[in-house]
C-alpha cells in the first residue's frame, strides 16, 4: 500500500515537472523619466498619520525604476487566487496597488486607531462598497465586482489612495526595483499591456517560449 502511494506521489510530481517545462515566464523592468512628487502634508490625525507622508502616485528610484505599475498578459487566464487584503496602515493603503480576481471577496482591515473608511469605486464612478473601520483589527469582506480598475478612497483622509486591478488575466505588479515576473505562462504570442495610476505606456507584443524567461521592458511617461 505504502509503495503504491509513493509511486502515485512520484507520478504526480513527474507530471507537474512536465507541466512546468511546457510553460515559460516573462520578466522585465518598468522605468520612467518622470520624477516622484513632493510629500503630502497631513492635515488631520497627525498623531497617528505623522506630519507628512510620501506621495505614492509615482514611486520611482534614482535610476528611474518605477514601482506599482501593473503588467497584464491579455487573454492568459490563470486560476491562482490568493486573498486580497486592503490594509489601512499609517494612513495609507499598504500596498497601494493590488490584484484581485473578478467577484473575489476582498478583506478590508486597519491597523490605525483612527476612523478610516474604505470606499471602492468602479471606473464609472459607481461605489462598489464603502465600509467604515472605526478601530483597528476589524476584518470586513466584500465582493470587488467585475473586471476593471477599482479606485480606493478614504473619506476621512483625502490623500489616501489605493488601486485594485480586477482581472482574471495573468498580471504582476512592479516592485520597488521596477521589476516584475510572470511565471507559468503557456508558450505563445500575446499582447502585454501596462497600467499605472498616473503614467502611460504602449502595449507590446511578447512571445513566450517554454522553459526560459522572455524579457520585456516598458518605459512610461
Amino acid at each position: 500500500m505504502g509503495r503504491i502511494l509513493a509511486l502515485g506521489i512520484l507520478g504526480t510530481l513527474a507530471c507537474a515537472q512536465v507541466t512546468f517545462a511546457q510553460t515559460g515566464s516573462v520578466t522585465g523592468t518598468i522605468t520612467t523619466s518622470v520624477k516622484g512628487r513632493a510629500p503630502v502634508r497631513v492635515t488631520i490625525d497627525e498623531k497617528i498619520c505623522g506630519n507628512e507622508l510620501p506621495d505614492e502616485a509615482i514611486v520611482v528610484d534614482a535610476q528611474g525604476r518605477l514601482a506599482n505599475a501593473v503588467v497584464i498578459l491579455t487573454g492568459v487566464k490563470v486560476a491562482v487566487a490568493g486573498e486580497t487584503v486592503l490594509l489601512n496602515e499609517k494612513c495609507r493603503f499598504a500596498p497601494r496597488v493590488q490584484l484581485a480576481r473578478p467577484n473575489a471577496a476582498v478583506r478590508t482591515t486597519s491597523k490605525d486607531p483612527v476612523l478610516h473608511t474604505t470606499q471602492a469605486l468602479h471606473e464609472s464612478g459607481r461605489t462598489i462598497f464603502n465600509v467604515a473601520l472605526p478601530m483597528p483589527g476589524l476584518n470586513i469582506s466584500k465582493p470587488i465586482g467585475a473586471a476593471g480598475t477599482v479606485r480606493l478612497n478614504c473619506n476621512t483622509h483625502p490623500w489616501m489612495r489605493g488601486w485594485v486591478i480586477v482581472t482574471d488575466d495573468a498580471a504582476a505588479i512592479s516592485g520597488a526595483d521596477g521589476k516584475f515576473t510572470l511565471e507559468n505562462i503557456p508558450p505563445g504570442t500575446y499582447e502585454m499591456r501596462v497600467w499605472h495610476e498616473s503614467l502611460k505606456g504602449a502595449p507590446q507584443k511578447v512571445t513566450v517560449v517554454a522553459g526560459k524567461p522572455t524579457e520585456i521592458n516598458f518605459q512610461l511617461k
Binding site: 512628487r37 502634508r41 507628512e52 465600509v131 467604515a132 472605526p134 478601530m135 478614504c154
Partner: protein, 286 residues
C-alpha cells in the same frame, strides 16, 4: 511639501442641530443609514456602512447621541411618524403633496389634490381640492396639532373646514397612532357639522388602520387594512404601500374599499395615493 485641498466628502452633511430636520424621521431610518451607509436609505455612498464594525446597540447609541444635538424641547418624535393610510388622517404633521384618486365600480371617479405644510413644532395646515367628473364643488382647509407625541404614541387634534357651494361643513377630528411590536396602529374620529343642515348632513366618520412593513428599507412594501366607517356604513380597505424612490420621499399606495354593509349604497371603490414628501429630512440641507 504639498497640501491636498480636495474635500474628504463632496456631499455636505445635514445640520444635526436643526430640529426641524432631525426630529421628523424614526430612529430606525437613522440606524439603517449608519448600518448600511448612504445607499441603504437612497443617499450618497460617501456615507460608509458601519454594520460590520459596530453592534446594533452601538449604532442605536449613536442615534441617541445625534438626537441630542437638537436642543429644543417640544418637537414630536419621528418614531411616531407612521406610514400614511389611504383614508385615515395620520396624526404626525407632514410636508407633503398628495394626489388621491378614487374610482368606483360604476366608473365614477374623484381626484383629490392635497398640500400639507408643517408650521411651528407640532402643527400643520392642509389644503385639499377634490375634483370630480362634474368639476370642483368643494375646497377644504384643515389645521392639525400634535397634543401628545412621545415614545411610539401620538395624538393630534384638528379642525377641517370644507367649503361647499351652498354651505360650510366644520369637521373637528382626533387622530392617533401607536406601534405594537412591528405593527402600526392608527385611528381617526371625526364629526361633520354643516352650518346649514338643510344643505348637508351631519355625519360621524371613524377610521382605523393596522399595517406592517415587509422590510426596513425606505422602499419597503407596507401591507395594511383599514376599517372605514361613516355613520352606519362600514367598509374594509385592504391596501399596499410602497416607497418608490430610494429615500422613500415618493411613495404610492393602492387599496380596494369593500363595503361591509349597505353594499348597494356604497359600492366597491379603488382608492390610493401618490405622495411626495417635499421637505425630506434625511436629504434636506440648508
Amino acid at each position: 511639501m504639498r497640501k491636498i485641498d480636495e474635500p474628504t466628502v463632496s456631499v455636505e452633511p445635514m445640520d444635526f442641530t436643526d430640529c426641524k430636520l432631525t426630529t421628523a424621521e424614526p430612529d430606525a431610518d437613522w440606524e439603517r443609514a449608519i448600518a448600511k451607509g448612504g445607499p441603504g436609505v437612497g443617499l450618497s455612498p460617501l456615507m460608509p456602512a458601519f454594520e460590520d464594525s459596530l453592534t446594533a446597540e452601538q449604532i442605536a447609541g449613536f442615534v441617541a447621541h445625534m438626537r441630542g444635538f437638537c436642543k429644543e424641547g417640544g418637537w414630536p418624535s419621528g418614531n411616531t411618524n407612521f406610514p400614511r393610510p389611504i383614508v385615515t388622517e395620520k396624526a404626525f404633521p407632514e410636508n407633503e403633496f398628495l394626489i388621491l384618486p378614487a374610482i368606483s365600480h360604476d366608473r365614477e371617479w374623484e381626484l383629490a389634490g392635497v398640500y400639507e405644510q408643517r408650521f411651528g413644532k407640532r402643527s400643520m395646515v392642509e389644503f385639499e381640492v377634490p375634483v370630480q367628473r362634474a368639476g370642483v364643488d368643494e375646497i377644504a382647509i384643515a389645521f392639525k396639532h400634535a397634543v401628545h407625541a412621545s415614545g411610539f404614541n401620538i395624538v393630534s387634534l384638528g379642525l377641517e373646514t370644507a367649503f361647499l357651494r351652498d354651505t360650510t361643513v366644520f369637521e373637528p377630528f382626533i387622530s392617533a397612532g401607536s406601534m405594537l411590536r412591528d405593527w402600526y396602529l392608527q385611528g381617526q374620529f371625526k364629526i361633520e357639522l354643516p352650518a346649514d343642515r338643510a344643505k348637508a348632513d351631519r355625519a360621524i366618520v371613524y377610521n382605523a388602520y393596522v399595517g406592517h412593513d415587509t422590510s426596513l428599507a425606505p422602499t419597503t412594501w407596507t401591507l395594511g387594512v383599514e376599517l372605514n366607517g361613516e355613520n352606519h356604513e362600514l367598509a374594509l380597505t385592504p391596501q399596499v404601500r410602497k416607497g418608490i424612490t430610494g429615500t422613500g420621499a415618493l411613495a404610492a399606495s393602492i387599496g380596494v374599499m369593500l363595503p361591509l354593509n349597505e353594499r348597494e349604497e356604497q359600492g366597491v371603490r379603488w382608492v390610493g395615493y401618490l405622495l411626495w414628501e417635499f421637505l425630506e429630512p434625511l436629504r434636506a440641507r440648508k
